[in-house]
Symmetry: none
Subunit: 223 residues, 2 copies
DNA sequence: ATCTTCGATCAAAAGAATGTTCATGATCCT
DNA sequence: AGGATCATGAACATTCTTTTGATCGAAGAT
């Protein structure tokens, strides 16, 4: 369960981020609308939490642009004012829910769950915390990978890697992004760990090893 | 797409450089401000990534000098401190954006794209990250070219080339511009790589090969 | 406390795909 | 026709990827 939080005030953002992490959500944070939109082009999220007051383009505009791009990710809008007008305007621009600041953390959580449920029940009836692709199922909460209903043992890094790949379906990921995201690296380690782990994963995926494609000169892509 | 990276820590610089290269940027690297300024006198870049802590003159000073020379290239500042003061100071000196270290690679990429787009004043609301023309679709986040719904494999240079061509629809591009943008060449190299790659690309475009037109004496044009 | 085991990392080498150049042949334009 | 410009195939050079085996280190077992 991935959330993109677009919020410029660091204090608020940290507060939300910490809380959501504790709930088991994975939170990516962008401090302005442009950045948020860009990140959404590379990754898919389950929900976007969007502040209305942002530097640069406004939250409304971000939402509008998302919809114009046929991005249907549920959007929860945060605003300082509890004005019915704003709410209506927001919803018309494609927001799915709306929460006035300051808000109760419990209420935030509740709304997120509601949004998530609503969204996933429409599509293929359940996000049970699993990533699926053909005969591949990665169960987040159980941390188990199943290949054609056969459980495959993965190490910690392998799990993070497959999870990153599967949540970035059809997006090319550079080794650096992978290193940054899975290993937390910020400098060049002059190593080929990523390649080695991709190799191991492919072996474990058996018949589906081909799902991890090599994009020569760029990195790897799942699906 | 050319970037000038001014950063003294080699490991960090290498990491950024590789990552950006994988994303399709051509990166020039300077380890100090003076060198950076010199390089900028000879060449134009799409974006400058500027570390604040540099040996010799500081990043702020570099930025200031650039602006004093009426160089309007967008500047993305990197700094170790997440201080609002520094941010404000940086922006006042002419920086266009700011990123605290250590940063997420995703966010770096996102900001670069945002800066670049802002600069080229590209306001396409329906931009879903794909370039389309007739039966040709280039998805640059997946790095995949589709010809009449059939995926065609492209090499890194071919990808950069088709992406450049498709974003410059109906504009003639000289070999020099193509060389500069895709290969990062700035002097006259007496080579015919561009011709060779245009040829390869045409072959892969199959029925759409005619979309890449030769403009005799000038270069090539897409669409 | 030591051993054992497994995961994580590294380094080297083989293998594959890509990048570049050159030479030749085709095409265009006057 | 003839010079200039462009297209193309093939050889060669380079870079990137994969694979393998060895090493290091942490966690758990004895």
């Amino acid at each position: 369960m991935n959330i993109l939080l677009i919020e410029d005030e660091t204090r608020v953002a940290d507060f939300i981020r910490r809380g959501l992490k504790a709930e088991g959500w994975v939170v990516e944070h962008a401090t302005d609308g442009e950045t948020g939109l860009e990140i959404m082009q590379d990754r898919d999220f389950d929900i976007v939490i969007l502040d209305l007051m942002l530097p640069g383009i406004t939250g409304q505009r971000v939402c509008q642009k998302m919809r114009a791009r046929s991005n249907t990710t549920p959007v929860l809008m945060l605003t300082a004012l509890d004005s019915a007008d704003e709410r209506v305007a927001g919803l018309r621009l494609g927001a799915d829910d709306y929460l006035p600041k300051p808000f109760d953390f419990d209420e935030l959580i509740a709304r997120l769950h509601a949004l998530h449920r609503r969204n996933t029940s429409y599509a293929d009836d359940a996000d049970d915390g699993k990533l699926r692709h053909e005969g591949l199922i990665y169960d987040y909460s159980a941390m188990v990978l199943t290949v054609d209903d056969v459980v495959v043992d993965l190490s910690a890094k392998e799990r993070e890697l497959i999870s990153l790949l599967m949540t970035s379906e059809r997006k090319a990921l550079s080794r650096e992004r992978i290193l940054n995201s899975v290993w937390g690296t910020h400098e060049d380690p002059m190593t080929n760990v990523v390649d080695v782990y991709i190799g191991r994963l492919r072996k474990k995926l058996g018949p589906y090893s081909g799902l991890i494609k090599t994009v020569r000169g760029a990195g790897y892509r799942f699906g």
